[in-house]
Symmetry: C2
């Protein structure tokens, strides 16, 4: 997605060969117009898939997911990273290890918002090792709902998550697949190059 890739080139801060900070428009400050464009792009790609619900993970997944939900005319559910005191029976859970934060979180979704007849699009801001995506997909399946595909804003192709998921047959729509952050520059992959 051209506008997103240009924004990453312009405002992304490369902290190391594996860490890209996009705090100025996605992870901390949010550009609402870019989110709207991202929402339209995901909606276009999943328009014909009969999506009935979007599932994401707090907090950075919420903005792109909300704009996609608006375009697809479906509700959005965000998984929480720890148990809330007011969530109780019928809670769906998965364990997710975050390499960035070096901690394991239990992510939870209340079972009342994912049903057997739901067709679910999972959206997340980043795909790196694929642990968060796997956890979200587990939750969809735990609910007995159908997992349709994964929408990713920024994929770090040089980490193994995308390849691991594609080898499982999972459909990934990846709007900004980054091949490398070496030598202080962002190098994008073409989507058609990604392992299917």
């Amino acid at each position: 997605m051209k506008a997103l890739q240009e924004k990453i080139e312009k405002e992304g801060v490369i902290l190391s060969e594996t860490v890209l900070k996009v705090n100025s428009f996605l992870n901390h400050q949010i550009d609402p117009f870019l989110m709207q464009e991202i929402g339209k792009e995901f909606a276009k790609r999943f328009q014909k898939d009969g999506i009935t619900k979007i599932l994401t993970l707090e907090s950075s997944g919420i903005a792109p997911s909300l704009m996609t939900a608006l375009e697809l005319n479906v509700p959005l559910v965000f998984a929480r990273k720890k148990k809330s005191l007011t969530l109780n029976e019928g809670v769906l859970t998965a364990k997710v290890y975050s390499f960035t934060k070096q901690e394991e979180n239990e992510i939870t979704v209340s079972g009342e918002f994912l049903h057997k007849d739901d067709r679910v699009l999972v959206i997340d801001d980043f795909l790196a090792n694929g642990q968060a995506a796997l956890g979200l997909i587990d939750i969809v399946r735990e609910a007995g709902a159908e997992f349709v595909g994964l929408g990713i804003v920024i994929e770090k192709v040089f980490q193994n998550g995308g390849q691991m998921l594609r080898e499982k047959g999972i459909r990934i729509e990846s709007l900004a697949p980054i091949r490398s952050l070496e030598n202080g520059a962002v190098s994008f992959a073409k989507e058609e190059e990604l392992v299917r």
Copy 2:
């Protein structure tokens, strides 16, 4: 705001005389069209205030804030509830005690996204004891920016936050001020009745 108050009456779950669960459209599952209406309403109320930035708190503040940001054509910043490993120098912080979760969080905003010339609208999903709002306003002032007003989706008028803040001269736009949750029913206050 009529559509919001009707949604609360229809889908809100009264857990006790002080706890209202709105997980089906605001705090866990999100209704994107209602968020769009909320965004339009906040934007209308703050249209003439020269807002340059919206500040909210993860996670439930993000959706209504994003739609308001889109309408007002400004960026949104969400405060984080604990320090992130990739936030470093120039971090603005405030301590916020959550009565619901019975824990104190440090909320943080990177100083690079709030400037002295910013005019900031603070938005949050709930106003109860006012601790989160106070923390967010502290952060705006710590940045040297101008705090313009507070937009609240649901105010629990029977708790003391709104009164405490209004007595400090803070402007609050409260879309669904709830007078009481007694006897298993939601009773709304009229906005003009709220202490100024």
